[in-house]
Symmetry: C3
Amino acid sequence: MSLMTLLDYTSVLVFALTGALVASRAQLDIVGFFFLACLTAVGGGTVRDVLLDRNPVFWIAEPTYLLVACGAALGVFFTAHLFESRYRLLLWLDACALAVAVAAGSGVALSLDQGPAVVVVMGMITGCLGGLMRDVVSNEVPLVLRQGELYVTCAFAGSTATVIAAAVGFGPGLAALACAAMTFTLRAGSIHYGWCLPVYRSRPPR
Amino acid sequence: MSLMTLLDYTSVLVFALTGALVASRAQLDIVGFFFLACLTAVGGGTVRDVLLDRNPVFWIAEPTYLLVACGAALGVFFTAHLFESRYRLLLWLDACALAVAVAAGSGVALSLDQGPAVVVVMGMITGCLGGLMRDVVSNEVPLVLRQGELYVTCAFAGSTATVIAAAVGFGPGLAALACAAMTFTLRAGSIHYGWCLPVYRSRPPR
Amino acid sequence: MSLMTLLDYTSVLVFALTGALVASRAQLDIVGFFFLACLTAVGGGTVRDVLLDRNPVFWIAEPTYLLVACGAALGVFFTAHLFESRYRLLLWLDACALAVAVAAGSGVALSLDQGPAVVVVMGMITGCLGGLMRDVVSNEVPLVLRQGELYVTCAFAGSTATVIAAAVGFGPGLAALACAAMTFTLRAGSIHYGWCLPVYRSRPPR
């Protein structure tokens, strides 16, 4: 199994857990768990594959991804009540999934010899769009756009790390590691220490 | 006209009616009716075709689909005030459209020799995504995710019926019939008798 | 640089400004500005290219588009506080972007020898979907669906103008001009004079 495949599986698994946690917060039935888990798990990678015209899309070529996502949903359905604070758990799992998915997305674009701007954007799309779909569909405020937090910024920094690592001659494995470490560190700092960038603020909008 | 084409036309027509009914509830003008009718009518099938790389997308190959959807919107624009309860009508039309669209989506995937998991997912995508787009765009609570109702579950069961019917040697026509009957029966039972699956419930989420 | 490329750049630039203005209203940080600017700027054209199977998508072939959008976001980040009423500015910029994007979208479909219905729809998709994504993601009421305003209608009329102009033998340049003029005039009349179509109204929906 290639490195990119392994990263794709990991991000599918962890994003599926976050989708299922959101389903548990919305009190859905088991098929609702499957639905949100699969949407979150494969959403970002699907958009990446459609835009890059990779054919067929990764989970159509290899439906095991869907089984992994459904398995994760099933696990959460029966165990979510054991966790004290499902929202903290959701935040941290989402941070892990983000880190892995950004590494997978930018790595795939790199392996297709895309230029730096496209590599950065594909990392951000793969990392952020699954969670964005999850939040839009389930009517939660998108994590992507919450004030006073780093989220898209982490994906941006991680993808940029991939580009820089590749430019200085690192192989795909080290580049993916640099990307995931950068993304996760920034996101964890934002969740735990409240790191953020200055936001736009002026007179109240009219 | 092949069976799959006929199913596509039927689901386009009935989904367009539901889109136009939502437009009437939002008090839009006639072009708003056209817009929501077309989005609902071709949304799910478009995603199916893009993911399966069927080229061109069905309504680009055959723009008559769009005319059918606009005709349906026009009809609703002038007659919707005749109906006592537009919401009940919307629910039941949506159930019919769901049944036909799931049959069309899973049938197309089957005819392209996709494996069982992909057939099931394509049925669910074709059935559920048009209505989901309609509800997200018009700010209604998505039917897909309402508690205590079967919706995605019906699409899942219907698609599975297609797979089983094909596995035991039924032709495409009988498989589509089994799928539509299974989907509609479950959805009708949910609307009329309140059939549902147990939902996830635990201590209140924090 | 071809005419269609020039139109694409212009609509990317102006839509990016509207995305950044929405980001300023939501008080996001600079990466949030980049994100909303890029989503709004390339969203509609990306859907157009995926549906028409133009390969690669325009901003993957030419990532300069993304740099233009990010430059526009940067400009807005540092100057938005200078404007008295950011919402009026947003409305008028959006009207300009709509006019140019409808011309670009219908022009591209025309140049690919699509039939009239597909040309009209591609103009509407390119014009309306970027702004729709911007509004759905940032939880604003979609401009597309506001009562008592012309929006989709302007895109519809503009695309139709392209089709008619091409049918009577105008070249691509004149067709694009006719389209943009028609779209902008209707939208400006709607913003400034309150032009609208009669909306559906009956007994209150239940």
